[in-house]
Subunit: 332 residues, 2 copies
């Protein structure tokens, strides 16, 4: 039988691993189901592990992406998973599947991007493997740790908490549009959007301060899109939300770009994936007149956690929130 969908096969794999696998040791606090696995490595110290696969023609295309950008983005996506738990990324491992007859320079440019992103976050690449494959495959694993306050899960949001996100969102989707459809002139004009899509930077440098200032009750990084990722928090926590659609932080460039295109910047903000901003919940309330800026990155209140229901308030009207993810296996 063919695989039905990505979510279906993931559920079956998870069930196989949990029902037939080794018993969970007591030091293992979080297994499959969050951005990272979390386990105790000593008194008040926790190890974090996460892995992602990044594949040519699925996650990037050779004819569109510079190899440095593909490598950079793949590494940042992994570093972001550690930040999403409130941890510090320590080490990375990179395995690379390389097509037969591949150009050496192309591979080395991918590694230049991988290395650049890892260096930016202070993370040494300490191991890996290579093999021959049909297309370029990057498989990255990151190890990080979290201090005495532990890792911040997705599943622990409480009704009444406020929902925050870092930075600006939506630009990655805008940048992708310009990148795919835009003329050379447009790519120049909307460079900030394109850069955001090709070279996203994870919030590894402010995760620590966010923990200190907000004491988040749950956290995730925006990789699938704000709505999808907020739904992950809501589902795993057994809660709902009301999102303040009019308060979503979008960049001035995205606002201008949407105006030119006659579209709504909020639509981009809701669905844009690969943003690598942090999305978290907190008991702390910041009124509309108060702005928290950490290391030059704004943190914006964008909603509240409710008992149930996923809703968006926009122009004074409250509607049900739809979701839109991407499925590797569902056929069109």
């Amino acid at each position: 039988m063919k695989i039905k969908s990505e979510w279906d096969i993931i559920a079956k794999i998870r069930d196989c691993v949990e029902s037939k696998g080794a018993a969970k040791p007591k030091d293992l606090l979080m297994s499959i189901g969050d951005d990272c696995a979390v386990f105790r490595i000593g008194e008040g110290r926790f190890g974090l592990l996460s892995t992602d696969m990044f594949v040519e023609n699925v996650h990037f295309r050779r004819d569109y992406s510079q190899p440095e950008d593909a490598g950079f983005k793949a590494m940042m996506a992994n570093i972001s998973d550690i930040a999403a738990m409130g941890g510090e990324c320590r080490y990375a491992l990179v395995s690379c599947g390389i097509p037969a007859g591949e150009d050496e320079e192309y591979v080395m440019r991918v590694y230049d991007g991988l290395t650049e992103a890892a260096k930016m976050a202070g993370v040494p690449i300490v191991g890996g493997d290579i093999s021959r494959t049909g297309e370029l495959v990057l498989s990255i694993t990151v190890y990080g740790d979290a201090g005495p306050s532990g890792a911040i899960l997705r599943s622990t949001a409480q009704a009444g908490n406020y929902i925050y996100c870092t930075g600006h969102i939506g630009s990655s989707q805008g940048g992708l549009e310009v990148f795919m459809q835009g003329s050379g002139e447009e790519k120049e004009r909307w460079r900030s959007l394109v850069d955001r899509h090709t070279r996203p930077v994870a919030r590894y440098d402010i995760a620590y301060d966010i923990k200190g200032q907000f004491r988040p009750t749950s956290m995730i990084d925006i990789s699938d899109g704000l709505l999808s990722d907020l739904n992950h928090i809501a589902e795993e926590s057994g809660k709902g939300y009301l999102l303040y659609g009019d308060r979503l932080p979008v960049s001035d460039d995205l606002r201008r770009y949407a105006a030119v295109k006659g579209s709504d910047p909020i639509t981009y903000a809701l669905k844009s994936g690969e943003e690598y901003e942090l999305l978290f919940t907190s008991e702390l309330f910041l009124s509309e007149t108060v702005q928290m800026v950490i290391n030059a990155i704004p943190v914006t209140l964008i909603g509240e956690v409710t008992d149930s229901g996923c809703r968006i308030e926009k122009n004074g009207k409250i509607t049900d929130a739809g979701t839109a993810g991407y499925d590797h296996f569902r056929e069109a």
Copy 2:
């Protein structure tokens, strides 16, 4: 320019990562260049990380291998890397690239094998990722730890040390031959060899006792083949060796199989990869009349570390040792 060879591209990648990457923190004791990366995680406690990629048509073939066996072997190879450092494997992560239109049952049978091997070694699978790829790709990462005596490296063999290996070697290569060329009747007759090839078991359960009894000065697992892996120890340690060719431990079945084929069982023992036996050096000397057996696994003295030169003694004659590895990128 096309990639010259696997070793050439690995050397370039290593150079890129080390010259352009983040500075090595002082807690990082071993980076690329051994079976695992090794880093301090607390007073007298060390973390170990290793990753391997396992690809259809490179590491296994769908028309020969049962999917459970492919998964089992891929997981054991990774668990073996932790044993090779004298560590205990704690957690595994599995990413899987799945072809479009793949049969769900096939994928689940691969995971059955992965899970069975991991459970055998008491290792929970705590995370992973899936993506669409051209062929089936397994990328496994294992995390383990080592106690106060630390991890055992490849690079620390001393001249005058004795060389030991666990169990029997050569059977995996014999089993592969039977598997590829043998009739159904031959596969039945040489089942122990075939099983050894399709379902190798890593020495995770005796690594601890080997540390205690032998205090190894260096260690590696036999994944490329005895000669290749001994050369790794010799090269990384800046030493040579004299291998006692007549004393290599081969199983009775391999001896009988070689006799039927009119071949020399020692040739199998020297080159057979994917054995996952432990190969180590020690100051401890065991005379020919003394046999150490740990948890029913024999440990055999097979040579000595010398200042330089890689030589084999066989039938009283000493010759230079050749090497034979497998290269994913070198063209025939």
